[in-house]
Symmetry: C2
Subunit: 463 residues, 2 copies
Amino acid sequence: MVSSVQFVHDRAFILSTGDEIMTGQLQDSNARWLSAALIDEGILVAEHGAVGDVEKDLCDAILRAAAKAPLVIMSGGLGPTDGDLTREAICRAADDQLVLDPKLRSELAAMLARRGRELTPRQERQAFRPSRATAIPNAFGTAPGVHARIQTQAPWGLTDVFCLPGPPGELRPMFAAAVRPLLRPPQDRVVLTRLLHVVGMPEAECVQKLGELTKRDRVPLVGITASGGILTLRIRYEAREPNSPQGRAAAAARVDAVESEIRDRLGDHVMFTGAAGAIGGMDHLARQVIEMLRSGSAGPRTLAVVESCTGGMLGEMLTSISGSSSVFVGGFITYANALKERVGVLPETLACFGAVSAQTAREMALAGLGRSGADCCLAITGIAGPDGGSDAKPVGTVHIGLAWGSSLRGADIGSVPEVHSRHFLFTGDRADVRCRACVTALAMLRFLVLRGEASTPKLLWEV
Amino acid sequence: MVSSVQFVHDRAFILSTGDEIMTGQLQDSNARWLSAALIDEGILVAEHGAVGDVEKDLCDAILRAAAKAPLVIMSGGLGPTDGDLTREAICRAADDQLVLDPKLRSELAAMLARRGRELTPRQERQAFRPSRATAIPNAFGTAPGVHARIQTQAPWGLTDVFCLPGPPGELRPMFAAAVRPLLRPPQDRVVLTRLLHVVGMPEAECVQKLGELTKRDRVPLVGITASGGILTLRIRYEAREPNSPQGRAAAAARVDAVESEIRDRLGDHVMFTGAAGAIGGMDHLARQVIEMLRSGSAGPRTLAVVESCTGGMLGEMLTSISGSSSVFVGGFITYANALKERVGVLPETLACFGAVSAQTAREMALAGLGRSGADCCLAITGIAGPDGGSDAKPVGTVHIGLAWGSSLRGADIGSVPEVHSRHFLFTGDRADVRCRACVTALAMLRFLVLRGEASTPKLLWEV
């Protein structure tokens, strides 16, 4: 008789497969996404693993994962090529064999027919599944998933193994539609995670202000991560108590209390908060800036950008957010000096001060404001490297301009646009410098709107 | 007596640590980067693992990794907070204890002093190291690395464990400066990996054309991965033979032969090739387009962009490449219709056909060409979703315009700019649609330059 304990997924193991991951050719983004999705369901992730496309290695990894956690989520290895071995490895681990699933085969043939293609013998491989496993439908690709149960020596007996295809555009909807409904988070434990993104404060100062809140033996536990100029605080509450509405409410109250304490200590450096699976700090900052402009007390305000060294990255960040069109109008990529002049930077300014200067940043911002008709405009010009640096202007030198019309802040009077620029020396490689410049530009705008020009804080890397 | 076998790093285990990784808050990019760097040194990566900030779990993971491979590279857990436990876990795994390293302490104090800060007791933790381990200097941050050797039951006895800090801007230069010189790739084995990126061909067609080349028992082995509309073929040669100049030359000849066979079968769908650690297919495509325009037989040609639904992403991709300024001049982010009109799209066009239409894409491209003075201009307008779709124009509908002057291709005559547009229906979420649109735009330009307008192939997702 099977004990009911087997049905509790108290922790998970995430296993990725693919030679392209082991050789560093492909960034595995599924482990991160699945971790956040599981945490939001109250299931802790014990371990991540990744192995190459070798059937025995994959089988060993599946058996080890199944013995470590009652829930294993795998990604990759379900394609049509000879290097796709997840189906075979599951059979080997579960002592099962592959069978042709007629329903899968006809669905596959129909999907290919809609694309004007025929089912090749190679693609027919994808219509096979382990005989005792269930197929997971894939509406976005040709690789169905597999749900198998594997016998282990662990106390819970059977482990649920869900195999999903590697492409995130297929894995994510399949997880939501077919895996999530079958998850069984423990009912004797309450887990609650909340993230707070903090901007414009060095990590050491933040740690000092938080003091005893970051001690490892505290419940809830507070962790800190720094990335690209944004600090992320992670409040995690975990306790053995009934996962009842009352239990969850009590946990939320504890987390609320810590969040409130953190907000008291860090003030408006704290941006909005989210659940564990929330988007990263950079997306969050862009989202918050859009939200602040959209819902300002004096009505919606619009934003434009003029980008030189970031070449469109700030616009890309803003427009990665669905609904950004209510605030973001667009702008200009003035990578070459000729385009800076065409937009409105004076040739004399470029000649006297150079393209990377406070003067150029200010003129870019003012020109973008005028030409776009937006209420405010961010401009970025700098030296992202690795070439182009000098003693006077080393790699990482960036000037950020911010221009705004009287329309931006209700309190302002007069109709002449205002503009200021700030000077930064970012560390890191080309990608770091560009990314930090965009984040810092958004932080400048955020503090301008929140506090007014006079009292915006000194930002990280500001010279 | 220690056998010399201990000094051969024939394979590696990459271990990441951090609660922020296990909760899905942070994307671990170090495992990918380190894998590519090791493969390029001739060291295969056997496994990736990641565990949270729990000293015992970390210690167990270190011991398991050390028993699996004679080389372990760790990232994370070296910061100043109580959640940074790599130093402690190494001590536990190696039966060692932490000691204050006076040299580390004075370097740390000096680094902080240069930033106008004092060494706090918390930060002093970073000046401790396991007594028998060596510190690895960190020029870009406050966390020194650790090089320990851990006794195992495995045949090779001692395993080299290198612990590096999590931020990539610190990990990468530390790996290059301090870890790489200590690597000892096996001398009795030759490993050679080469990547080929393939554009404008469905995976099934590519697999069919490659035929027997992709069989799993072939040497060299050919693997295929699809990502964002680009296929990446991975040729891997691995054989037990002396890693001598002759052995390496023979391996290169074998790989050359396979590459040549692939190029014969796939023609100009193959883009340039690179070593295992080469950049991804999307960067590669942008790089190749820049290189084609820079080194054209009729002299360098310039490129501009006009972006609506991608909001700057195409410019970002192009400018992520150092040296792109020789070709890319910039462009316009015409997210709002008002900016499309300001750039030069006729109000009547927007009214009659809509912002997402072939007509608008063509006018955007022509306007961008004229206003930027570039030799060619790519324009993207579409519905990235999740909102904004309709039956007539579902989410994923994208029109890409390409305009070029007579200056672009030596063979063209006449001075009137030419323009065409193509219609796509991309699958996936908002991020997928945007990314695929940018990749496809670059592929359109690539085939136009290579083949001329009349014979560019049908691209993936083209309607």
